[in-house]
Subunit: 430 residues, 2 copies
């Protein structure tokens, strides 16, 4: 395998939304009330909507920043690499990183639009959310056809509206929607309730994948506030195991047999253990818990219906015979701090040593294109979509670190969760 020959489709990257995203996209009566970017007294930029402030947290847009300047401080657009928010620059960064196509999760609205859902005026919120999705589909994804896989936000406060929005965006070619790994933590009924049935039905009907990103419960696992922050960073991907357990044991996955969900940024190396555990629990406890999977095992349900993905996971790839190779995808995580951009091909290459070409093709792009109903090759023929071909176009992209005096930290003491939390702004919701 030559990494230059890989065709890379990432199912989890992030857009930092540009300030002008709503221009001309809202009905006139709402135009003044759209979320807007303000510059605060300390010079940092923040989105404001119905009085709610949302900052661009540093760690969420560190592509191109020296690693010793990472942190949770609110940032300014001028401190963020333009590829985070400018689609032309993003495509250039994708070329430099060898990425043929990419699916982008939101930033300030949070992973499944919690920011919009907290609005008091729900008609306004719906108009804003639709404008967001239109901007995402028409501008972010539409400017360079074939490069950005569309992903919609749902109006999580109303399952009927969610279903309508899923159908509306599907008609525009979008077959992925974000949702919460645990809606109960957001104040809504849990995944085990039938509250969400209209949403599941619409996604089933439209062949739309429901993407549960790590952190989409607005909660992270924190062992203690004085724990080194590395503890939290370590645990974050694997914490999606809680959602995985919910999906398997909840009746809705069996009730909607055409529904597909994705565990975004969840990693894969822990899954074989987890599935063995699930089947053991089933055999050991079903007599009193009354679970019934008919003639299949719970692990089989997971393998058929749950899309998995990884950034860099050698053990997981080496254990792929315990997974469903048709459901394993890859992600780059640009511009977050766990991303290996611009050396993603090299990072992924380390995981793919010894893997047959057939499996490499599935993991790197075929599964993602099929699952998200995305047509890459009619826009970017295979020979133009490889890492080598894309990088050849990007010789003029500056990949050097851009330092910011303001974000440089003093001291060398280990950083705790509390230290990181203190960098966050005091306002802002969950």
């Amino acid at each position: 395998m030559d990494i230059n020959d890989l065709i890379l489709v990432s199912v989890d990257d992030h857009v930092v939304e540009p300030p002008d995203m709503f221009a001309g996209r809202l009905p006139a009566r709402y135009a003044d009330q759209a979320p807007k970017v303000i510059t605060k007294d300390d010079g940092t930029d923040a989105w404001v909507f119905e009085g709610q402030e949302a900052t661009n947290v540093g760690l969420n847009a560190v592509a191109g920043r020296p690693p010793d300047e990472y942190g949770a401080e609110p940032t300014r657009f001028s401190e963020i690499r333009p590829g985070c928010f400018d689609i032309h620059e993003r495509i250039r960064d994708m070329n430099a990183g060898g990425l043929a196509a990419s699916m982008n999760f939101p930033s300030y609205p949070q992973f499944c639009g919690q920011y919009f859902a907290r609005a008091g005026d729900k008609d306004l919120a719906l108009a804003v959310l639709r404008a967001y999705n239109d901007w995402h589909l028409d501008e972010w994804c539409g400017t360079y056809p074939g490069r950005m896989i569309p992903l919609a936000l749902p109006p999580i406060w109303d399952p009927t509206l969610m279903a309508q929005e899923v159908r509306r965006v599907a008609a525009k070619g979008c077959h992925a929607v974000t949702f919460s790994e645990n809606p109960e933590k957001l104040g809504y009924p849990s995944l085990h309730s039938d509250h969400w049935d209209p949403f599941w039905q619409a996604c089933s009907d439209q062949n739309t994948v429901v993407c549960l990103h790590i952190g989409s419960s607005s909660q992270v696992v924190v062992t203690s506030l004085d724990a080194p922050v590395d503890t939290m960073i370590t645990l974050q991907p694997m914490s999606i195991v809680q959602a995985a357990a919910d999906l398997i044991w909840s009746p809705f996955l069996r009730r909607f047999p055409d529904l597909t969900l994705a565990l975004s940024e969840g990693g894969i190396g822990w899954i074989p253990y987890f599935l063995e555990r699930v089947d053991r629990v089933y055999k050991q406890h079903r007599a009193w818990t009354h679970q019934d999977f008919g003639d299949m095992l719970p692990s089989e349900l997971f393998l058929q219906r749950i899309v998995t993905c990884f950034i860099e996971d050698e053990f997981g790839v080496a254990s792929r015979e315990k997974l469903n190779i048709d459901m394993v995808t890859w992600e780059c995580d640009y511009p977050h701090s766990d991303s290996s951009w611009p050396l993603a091909p090299e990072s992924l290459g380390r995981c793919l040593g010894g893997v047959p070409d057939r499996d490499v093709a599935k993991i790197t792009h075929e599964n993602a294109l099929r699952l998200f109903s995305f047509d890459l090759f009619s826009h970017l023929p295979g020979e133009q979509a490889t890492v080598g071909a894309l990088r050849a176009r990007a010789g003029d992209v500056d990949l050097g670190y851009r330092s910011s005096e303001r974000l440089r930290k003093v001291g060398t003491a280990p950083v705790s969760v509390l230290d990181l939390a203190r960098q966050l702004p005091t306002s802002g919701g969950s």
Copy 2:
């Protein structure tokens, strides 16, 4: 490999303490205040100490009960298999299950003695805790030398007293002590504080392994109350990953280089993924989190110092080259609901197919005996310690299910976490 030739040492089973455990073991002034067993109006038995009630929760002592009668109800001693609390019957059950030796965690005092730690009179609590440990060492472990590996409870409210108790029981041959996977959740300083240094020092000095059992933070991961209870059961072992992350990133493991800890009932199949993740976090984030492991990787620290164990984990055993084979142990979990007793040898045998004899010996008994400084063979020579030899002695042990009309459930609807919680008594602490 013939399972009859295996020598099985389990590092995690449980004793249900008998009502007479404190008889003659406390100073006269405390004799009346010792924890005692009462029979409640509903006929169930409970321990009472300083007004705190602790029941024997059904799921914690289900050995020999039909699986459709499992649940969380308080039970009566008469409903519990005598092997749970009678050492003579326990040895017979161990023989029938092919177990040569076993380490037993406590029941009513909770995993690290939280029940005693909640007492108002701390002098009394210390006297009771020492009497508990003496009973455990002298009676539970002493009656059949070579069969029960001693394990002490620490007085977690005072690290200096903990150190004293570790030294006191080590002089009596005990080189294992329980502690909490997350003491902050119990209201004490976290693992990251230097508060525990006297305890770590004593354990280092005495070659005493600190055992962190799943659930020893008095908390379980619950995704939502209406989640099927299978969700909670699935997640429980793997949730020890939070403690594993704490151990790796906290400075104390590096400050006490002779200290060994065990993740009791944690499983092993998730660990290779976890260690790869840990090393990636180190390389990706250390520039700003300021972690420093000198010339080693964090994964190497874990592999050297953390004892792992499993009940049944085929994937984990198959992945053992990613673990430290000298630190992998096995457990039976008698009499809890995840135990495979009395068919533990058959269950383990499924995991050991194709594993070389050298590794089988380490996993099944050599590691446990070395790590816990336990002398099995001078009491039970190898040829008498095998599954086959022990079972040959146990032909008269009744292994049929013993049903209880009272515990039989009505209905077939899936059981939720809330359903289970409703079976628990309303009193009792955390």
